[in-house]
Protein backbone atom coordinates (compact mmCIF):
# COMPACT_ATOMS: atom_id res chain seq x y z
CA UNK A 1 0.00 0.00 0.00
CA UNK A 2 0.90 3.64 -0.31
CA UNK A 3 0.43 6.36 2.26
CA UNK A 4 0.95 10.09 1.86
CA UNK A 5 3.22 11.85 4.34
CA UNK A 6 2.86 15.62 4.70
CA UNK A 7 5.71 17.11 6.73
CA UNK A 8 5.54 20.71 8.01
CA UNK A 9 7.88 23.48 9.12
CA UNK A 10 11.43 22.30 9.79
CA UNK A 11 10.47 18.64 9.58
CA UNK A 12 9.62 19.36 5.95
CA UNK A 13 13.04 20.98 5.44
CA UNK A 14 14.69 17.93 6.98
CA UNK A 15 12.92 15.72 4.42
CA UNK A 16 14.18 17.68 1.43
CA UNK A 17 11.47 20.36 1.35
CA UNK A 18 8.85 18.10 -0.19
CA UNK A 19 5.21 18.98 0.31
CA UNK A 20 4.07 15.40 0.07
CA UNK A 21 5.94 12.13 0.13
CA UNK A 22 4.37 8.91 -1.07
CA UNK A 23 5.67 6.00 0.96
CA UNK A 24 5.20 2.35 0.01
CA UNK A 25 4.64 0.03 2.93
CA UNK A 26 3.52 -3.55 3.40
CA UNK A 27 -0.18 -4.03 3.97
CA UNK A 28 -0.02 -4.51 7.75
CA UNK A 29 2.21 -1.51 8.42
CA UNK A 30 1.76 0.76 11.44
CA UNK A 31 2.86 4.31 12.29
CA UNK A 32 5.92 2.79 13.91
CA UNK A 33 6.83 1.06 10.63
CA UNK A 34 6.28 4.28 8.72
CA UNK A 35 8.62 6.20 11.03
CA UNK A 36 11.27 3.48 10.69
CA UNK A 37 11.00 3.75 6.90
CA UNK A 38 11.18 7.55 6.99
CA UNK A 39 14.28 7.40 9.19
CA UNK A 40 16.03 4.66 7.20
CA UNK A 41 15.11 5.53 3.65
CA UNK A 42 14.08 9.16 3.61
CA UNK A 43 16.64 10.61 6.01
CA UNK A 44 14.27 11.76 8.77
CA UNK A 45 16.87 12.74 11.39
CA UNK A 46 16.87 12.34 15.17
CA UNK A 47 17.65 16.01 15.63
CA UNK A 48 17.17 19.07 13.47
CA UNK A 49 19.49 22.05 13.88
CA UNK A 50 17.62 25.35 14.05
CA UNK A 51 19.76 28.44 14.08
CA UNK A 52 22.23 27.82 16.88
CA UNK A 53 19.98 25.32 18.64
CA UNK A 54 18.78 21.77 18.07
CA UNK A 55 15.26 20.35 17.94
CA UNK A 56 15.04 16.72 19.01
CA UNK A 57 12.54 14.55 17.13
CA UNK A 58 13.59 11.13 18.45
CA UNK A 59 15.28 10.01 21.61
CA UNK A 60 16.29 6.46 20.74
CA UNK A 61 13.03 5.08 19.40
CA UNK A 62 10.86 7.41 21.40
CA UNK A 63 9.20 10.27 19.53
CA UNK A 64 9.99 13.56 21.24
CA UNK A 65 8.80 16.81 19.71
CA UNK A 66 6.65 15.72 16.83
CA UNK A 67 2.87 15.68 16.50
CA UNK A 68 1.60 12.85 14.30
CA UNK A 69 -1.87 13.02 12.79
CA UNK A 70 -3.46 10.26 10.78
CA UNK A 71 -6.23 11.69 8.60
CA UNK A 72 -6.49 14.68 10.95
CA UNK A 73 -6.59 12.68 14.19
CA UNK A 74 -3.74 12.62 16.68
CA UNK A 75 -2.40 9.06 16.85
CA UNK A 76 -2.39 9.30 20.67
CA UNK A 77 -6.17 9.00 20.42
CA UNK A 78 -5.88 6.04 18.08
CA UNK A 79 -3.50 3.16 18.72
CA UNK A 80 -0.43 5.35 19.20
CA UNK A 81 2.65 3.95 17.46
CA UNK A 82 0.72 0.75 16.75
CA UNK A 83 -1.96 2.62 14.78
CA UNK A 84 -2.62 0.64 11.60
CA UNK A 85 -2.31 2.38 8.27
CA UNK A 86 -4.45 1.84 5.22
CA UNK A 87 -3.85 2.52 1.56
CA UNK A 88 -4.35 6.24 0.91
CA UNK A 89 -3.95 7.32 4.55
CA UNK A 90 -2.60 10.83 5.07
CA UNK A 91 -0.04 11.35 7.78
CA UNK A 92 0.84 14.86 8.93
CA UNK A 93 4.06 15.43 10.86
CA UNK A 94 4.69 18.74 12.57
CA UNK A 95 6.56 20.16 15.53
CA UNK A 96 4.56 21.64 18.41
CA UNK A 97 5.16 25.35 18.89
CA UNK A 98 4.99 26.60 22.45
CA UNK A 99 6.17 30.19 22.78
CA UNK A 100 4.28 33.44 22.95
Amino acid sequence: MKVTVRPFLFIRDALGDQREIEVKLNSSATISDLLTTLRREYGLPDEIPIGRGVFELFHGNEVRNMVILKDGRNIRFLEGMETKLEDGAEIALFPPVVGG
Binding site: R6, F8, L9, F10, R12, D13, D17, I50, G51, G53, R64, N65, V67, L69, D71, G72, R73, N74, R76, F77, A92, F94, P95, P96, V97, V98, G99, G100
Partner: protein
Protein backbone atom coordinates in the same frame (compact mmCIF):
# COMPACT_ATOMS: atom_id res chain seq x y z
CA UNK B 1 -24.78 53.94 18.13
CA UNK B 2 -21.39 55.09 16.91
CA UNK B 3 -20.36 58.63 17.71
CA UNK B 4 -19.28 61.18 15.11
CA UNK B 5 -15.73 60.69 16.27
CA UNK B 6 -15.94 56.90 15.96
CA UNK B 7 -17.39 57.07 12.47
CA UNK B 8 -14.36 59.09 11.48
CA UNK B 9 -11.81 57.05 13.41
CA UNK B 10 -12.90 53.72 11.92
CA UNK B 11 -13.88 55.04 8.49
CA UNK B 12 -11.46 52.85 6.55
CA UNK B 13 -12.64 49.61 8.16
CA UNK B 14 -16.32 50.60 8.20
CA UNK B 15 -15.97 50.42 4.42
CA UNK B 16 -15.55 46.68 4.92
CA UNK B 17 -17.53 45.90 8.06
CA UNK B 18 -20.27 48.51 7.80
CA UNK B 19 -21.39 50.67 10.72
CA UNK B 20 -23.24 47.69 12.19
CA UNK B 21 -20.04 45.63 12.07
CA UNK B 22 -18.18 48.42 13.83
CA UNK B 23 -20.88 48.51 16.48
CA UNK B 24 -20.42 44.80 17.02
CA UNK B 25 -16.72 45.42 17.57
CA UNK B 26 -17.58 48.20 20.01
CA UNK B 27 -19.86 45.88 21.98
CA UNK B 28 -17.40 42.97 22.03
CA UNK B 29 -15.38 41.98 25.10
CA UNK B 30 -12.11 40.18 24.42
CA UNK B 31 -10.02 38.42 27.06
CA UNK B 32 -6.29 38.48 26.23
CA UNK B 33 -4.30 35.85 28.14
CA UNK B 34 -0.75 37.18 28.31
CA UNK B 35 0.97 40.49 27.59
CA UNK B 36 4.22 39.23 26.07
CA UNK B 37 5.21 39.09 22.41
CA UNK B 38 1.91 37.77 21.06
CA UNK B 39 -0.08 39.76 23.63
CA UNK B 40 1.59 43.00 22.56
CA UNK B 41 0.69 42.63 18.88
CA UNK B 42 -2.78 41.29 19.69
CA UNK B 43 -3.78 43.97 22.19
CA UNK B 44 -2.48 46.86 20.09
CA UNK B 45 -4.48 45.76 17.03
CA UNK B 46 -7.59 44.94 19.09
CA UNK B 47 -7.49 48.40 20.68
CA UNK B 48 -6.87 50.16 17.39
CA UNK B 49 -9.76 48.25 15.76
CA UNK B 50 -12.15 49.60 18.39
CA UNK B 51 -12.91 46.43 20.38
CA UNK B 52 -15.04 47.93 23.15
CA UNK B 53 -13.81 45.84 26.07
CA UNK B 54 -10.33 44.40 26.49
CA UNK B 55 -9.07 42.59 29.57
CA UNK B 56 -5.43 41.59 29.52
CA UNK B 57 -3.81 39.43 32.20
CA UNK B 58 -0.10 38.95 32.88
CA UNK B 59 1.79 38.68 36.16
CA UNK B 60 5.30 39.40 34.90
CA UNK B 61 7.57 42.40 35.09
CA UNK B 62 9.24 43.85 32.02
CA UNK B 63 12.82 42.72 31.38
CA UNK B 64 15.32 44.16 28.94
CA UNK B 65 15.38 40.87 27.02
CA UNK B 66 11.61 41.21 26.36
CA UNK B 67 12.01 44.29 24.24
CA UNK B 68 12.96 42.62 20.94
CA UNK B 69 9.36 41.43 20.60
CA UNK B 70 7.11 42.91 23.29
CA UNK B 71 6.33 46.09 21.44
CA UNK B 72 3.93 47.42 24.07
CA UNK B 73 6.94 48.38 26.17
CA UNK B 74 9.77 50.88 25.90
CA UNK B 75 13.25 51.01 27.30
CA UNK B 76 12.13 53.12 30.25
CA UNK B 77 9.53 50.48 31.24
CA UNK B 78 12.10 47.86 32.27
CA UNK B 79 11.31 46.75 35.83
CA UNK B 80 7.66 47.84 35.74
CA UNK B 81 4.69 45.49 35.81
CA UNK B 82 3.57 44.54 32.33
CA UNK B 83 -0.10 45.03 33.23
CA UNK B 84 0.29 48.65 34.36
CA UNK B 85 2.49 49.56 31.42
CA UNK B 86 0.21 47.80 28.90
CA UNK B 87 -2.85 49.58 30.24
CA UNK B 88 -1.17 52.94 29.92
CA UNK B 89 -0.03 52.35 26.32
CA UNK B 90 -3.28 50.86 25.10
CA UNK B 91 -5.34 53.70 26.57
CA UNK B 92 -3.13 56.13 24.68
CA UNK B 93 -3.63 54.19 21.46
CA UNK B 94 -7.40 54.27 21.85
CA UNK B 95 -9.00 56.10 24.77
CA UNK B 96 -12.48 54.94 23.70
CA UNK B 97 -11.74 51.34 24.63
CA UNK B 98 -12.66 50.09 28.07
CA UNK B 99 -9.38 48.59 29.11
CA UNK B 100 -8.43 46.54 32.11
CA UNK B 101 -4.98 45.08 32.71
CA UNK B 102 -4.62 42.67 35.60
CA UNK B 103 -1.32 41.60 37.12
CA UNK B 104 -2.13 38.02 38.07
CA UNK B 105 -1.12 34.49 37.19
CA UNK B 106 -3.87 32.62 35.37
CA UNK B 107 -4.53 29.48 37.40
CA UNK B 108 -7.11 26.76 37.91
CA UNK B 109 -8.67 28.59 40.87
CA UNK B 110 -9.06 32.03 39.26
CA UNK B 111 -9.46 31.42 35.53
CA UNK B 112 -13.29 31.30 35.51
CA UNK B 113 -13.51 34.54 37.43
CA UNK B 114 -10.82 36.28 35.37
CA UNK B 115 -12.53 35.43 32.08
CA UNK B 116 -15.86 36.45 33.64
CA UNK B 117 -18.52 37.32 31.07
CA UNK B 118 -16.09 38.05 28.24
CA UNK B 119 -17.13 36.95 24.76
CA UNK B 120 -13.99 35.16 23.71
CA UNK B 121 -10.46 34.22 24.78
CA UNK B 122 -7.32 34.90 22.82
CA UNK B 123 -4.24 32.87 23.65
CA UNK B 124 -1.02 34.80 24.11
CA UNK B 125 0.58 32.40 26.58
CA UNK B 126 4.01 30.83 26.45
CA UNK B 127 3.16 27.45 27.97
CA UNK B 128 0.73 24.59 27.45
CA UNK B 129 -0.29 24.26 31.10
CA UNK B 130 -2.14 27.60 30.95
CA UNK B 131 -3.31 26.98 27.37
CA UNK B 132 -5.09 23.80 28.50
CA UNK B 133 -6.76 25.77 31.31
CA UNK B 134 -7.95 28.41 28.84
CA UNK B 135 -9.08 25.71 26.38
CA UNK B 136 -11.20 24.05 29.09
CA UNK B 137 -12.56 27.40 30.28
CA UNK B 138 -13.63 28.31 26.76
CA UNK B 139 -15.42 24.95 26.41
CA UNK B 140 -17.16 25.29 29.79
CA UNK B 141 -18.26 28.88 29.03
CA UNK B 142 -19.08 27.97 25.42
CA UNK B 143 -17.01 30.82 23.96
CA UNK B 144 -14.39 30.71 21.17
CA UNK B 145 -10.68 30.30 21.89
CA UNK B 146 -8.09 31.67 19.47
CA UNK B 147 -4.85 29.69 19.74
CA UNK B 148 -1.51 31.07 18.63
CA UNK B 149 2.10 30.10 19.39
CA UNK B 150 5.54 30.87 18.07
CA UNK B 151 9.08 29.52 18.08
CA UNK B 152 11.84 31.50 16.41
CA UNK B 153 10.71 32.10 12.85
CA UNK B 154 7.86 29.57 13.07
CA UNK B 155 4.30 29.95 14.25
CA UNK B 156 0.90 28.25 14.44
CA UNK B 157 -2.69 29.40 14.91
CA UNK B 158 -6.18 27.93 14.92
CA UNK B 159 -9.68 28.96 15.91
CA UNK B 160 -11.55 26.77 18.37
CA UNK B 161 -15.34 26.90 18.57
CA UNK B 162 -16.62 24.65 21.39
CA UNK B 163 -18.95 21.91 20.22
CA UNK B 164 -18.04 22.55 16.60
CA UNK B 165 -14.29 22.26 16.08
CA UNK B 166 -11.38 20.27 17.38
CA UNK B 167 -10.12 21.79 20.63
CA UNK B 168 -6.51 22.35 21.65
CA UNK B 169 -6.48 18.96 23.45
CA UNK B 170 -7.74 17.21 20.30
CA UNK B 171 -4.65 18.48 18.49
CA UNK B 172 -2.14 18.29 21.33
CA UNK B 173 -3.31 15.59 23.77
CA UNK B 174 -0.25 16.06 25.94
CA UNK B 175 1.95 19.09 26.54
CA UNK B 176 5.02 19.32 24.33
CA UNK B 177 8.30 19.02 26.21
CA UNK B 178 9.07 22.39 27.69
CA UNK B 179 12.09 24.06 26.24
CA UNK B 180 13.38 27.57 26.07
CA UNK B 181 12.48 28.91 22.68
CA UNK B 182 14.09 31.61 20.61
CA UNK B 183 11.80 34.39 19.39
CA UNK B 184 12.05 36.72 16.46
CA UNK B 185 9.81 39.68 17.27
CA UNK B 186 8.17 39.90 13.87
CA UNK B 187 6.97 36.28 14.19
CA UNK B 188 4.83 37.42 17.14
CA UNK B 189 3.49 40.13 14.84
CA UNK B 190 2.60 37.62 12.10
CA UNK B 191 0.81 35.17 14.39
CA UNK B 192 -0.75 37.83 16.66
CA UNK B 193 -2.18 39.60 13.62
CA UNK B 194 -3.60 36.34 12.27
CA UNK B 195 -5.32 35.80 15.63
CA UNK B 196 -6.74 39.35 15.60
CA UNK B 197 -7.95 38.91 12.02
CA UNK B 198 -9.76 35.75 13.13
CA UNK B 199 -11.31 37.56 16.11
CA UNK B 200 -12.50 40.55 14.11
CA UNK B 201 -14.06 38.31 11.44
CA UNK B 202 -15.75 36.25 14.13
CA UNK B 203 -17.25 39.36 15.74
CA UNK B 204 -18.45 41.00 12.53
CA UNK B 205 -19.47 37.61 11.10
CA UNK B 206 -17.51 37.74 7.86
CA UNK B 207 -15.51 35.26 5.82
CA UNK B 208 -14.45 31.78 6.85
CA UNK B 209 -12.22 31.07 9.80
CA UNK B 210 -9.45 28.68 10.84
CA UNK B 211 -12.01 26.21 12.16
CA UNK B 212 -10.62 22.67 12.13
CA UNK B 213 -7.57 24.02 10.34
CA UNK B 214 -4.16 24.54 11.90
CA UNK B 215 -2.29 27.30 10.12
CA UNK B 216 1.49 26.96 10.07
CA UNK B 217 3.78 29.88 9.35
CA UNK B 218 7.33 29.09 8.23
CA UNK B 219 9.07 32.45 8.33
CA UNK B 220 12.45 30.95 7.48
CA UNK B 221 11.25 29.92 4.03
CA UNK B 222 8.33 32.37 3.79
CA UNK B 223 5.69 29.65 3.46
CA UNK B 224 2.20 29.32 4.86
CA UNK B 225 0.53 25.96 5.09
CA UNK B 226 -2.45 24.40 6.79
CA UNK B 227 -3.40 21.04 8.24
CA UNK B 228 -6.95 19.82 8.46
CA UNK B 229 -7.74 18.60 11.93
CA UNK B 230 -10.62 16.58 13.30
CA UNK B 231 -12.36 16.48 16.63
CA UNK B 232 -11.58 13.55 18.84
CA UNK B 233 -14.95 12.22 20.08
CA UNK B 234 -13.30 10.87 23.23
CA UNK B 235 -11.29 14.04 23.97
CA UNK B 236 -11.01 14.53 27.73
CA UNK B 237 -11.67 18.27 27.39
CA UNK B 238 -14.32 18.61 24.67
CA UNK B 239 -15.65 15.07 24.22
CA UNK B 240 -18.76 15.76 26.36
CA UNK B 241 -19.73 18.84 24.42
Amino acid sequence: MLTENELKRYERQIRIFGADGQERLKNAKVFVAGAGGLGSAISIYLAAAGIGGIRIVDHEKIELSNLNRQILYCDEDVGREKAASAEEKLKKINPDVSLEAISETIEENNVLELVGDFDLIVDAMDNFHTRYLLNRTAIVKNIPFFYGAINGLYGQATTIIPGKTACLRCIFPEPPLSMTFPVVGATCGVIGCIQVTEIVKYIVKMGSSLENRLLLWDGLNAKIDEIEIERNPSCEDCGWK
